[in-house]
């Protein structure tokens, strides 16, 4: 295996993580999450009004493979902030409830810290179309 071989998918993922202060790799989109864990993570970010970019990993199985190779984290969703992996749904949920998530993301949290239910009408603030670069 040649180390110098180019890996456009891995590069595109690394670039997306570097370019977006907060970025969520998920199954489906914030408007139509395809998995309960992704839906819950989106709901928590939206409850905090935290701006985030989202990447749907489902269109190409290589996105998930390369993402997990970069992060060392096997499951989806994965939330990154300032280039660092924050965690998956469980960690994001724990951090949301303790107020740590708002602190890490630099946003204000209202007094109600119980984890919100996913809202189907919710909107994301940004959507990174990573799959478009992977043709």
């Amino acid at each position: 295996m040649s180390e110098s071989e180019t890996n456009p998918i891995r590069d595109a993922i690394s670039e997306a993580i570097a370019e977006h202060e907060t970025i969520l790799f998920m199954k489906g989109t914030p408007e139509a999450p395809a998995c309960g864990f992704s839906a819950r993570t989106v709901a928590m970010l939206q409850a905090l009004d935290a701006p985030f970019a989202a990447v749907d990993i489902l269109p190409d199985p290589r996105i998930r493979q390369e993402l997990s190779a970069i992060s060392g984290w096997p499951t989806i969703p994965q939330l990154f902030h300032s280039g660092d992996l924050i965690g998956g749904c469980d960690i994001v949920c724990e951090m949301y409830e303790s107020g740590e998530l708002a602190q890490t993301l630099g946003v204000q949290q209202s007094s109600d810290s119980s984890a919100p239910e996913p809202s189907p009408a919710a909107q994301a603030n940004g959507f990174a179309q990573i799959e478009n670069r992977l043709g």
Partner: protein, 87 residues
């Protein structure tokens, strides 16, 4: 198909001083929830603690094990005895 008991055994044998509670919350042998308390977690971040548990199962996560929801906690190093009570 793995059972909650299989997962519990594997976590407890692989991670030093670990005590695990595992639940198959869909009853279908592929979605699990685990609470793991281990002395090996001491000094590790939450991310690193969860990675240690995921490493026990390798490629099975995302394969036969669709989901493994985790809550981890570090136990004091001198409390590695299974069933020991913290006072």
């Amino acid at each position: 198909m793995p059972t909650a008991e299989d997962l519990k055994q594997r976590i407890e044998t692989s991670i030093p001083g670990a005590q695990a509670e595992v639940e198959d919350y869909t009853g279908t042998g592929d979605h699990f929830r685990a609470i793991v308390i281990a002395s090996a977690f001491a000094g590790l971040s939450r991310i690193e603690q969860h990675k240690l548990v995921y490493e026990v199962f390798g490629d099975e996560i995302g394969g036969p094990i669709h989901a493994l929801s985790l809550r981890t906690e570090a136990a004091p190093a001198n409390d590695a005895e299974p069933g020991a009570v913290n006072v």
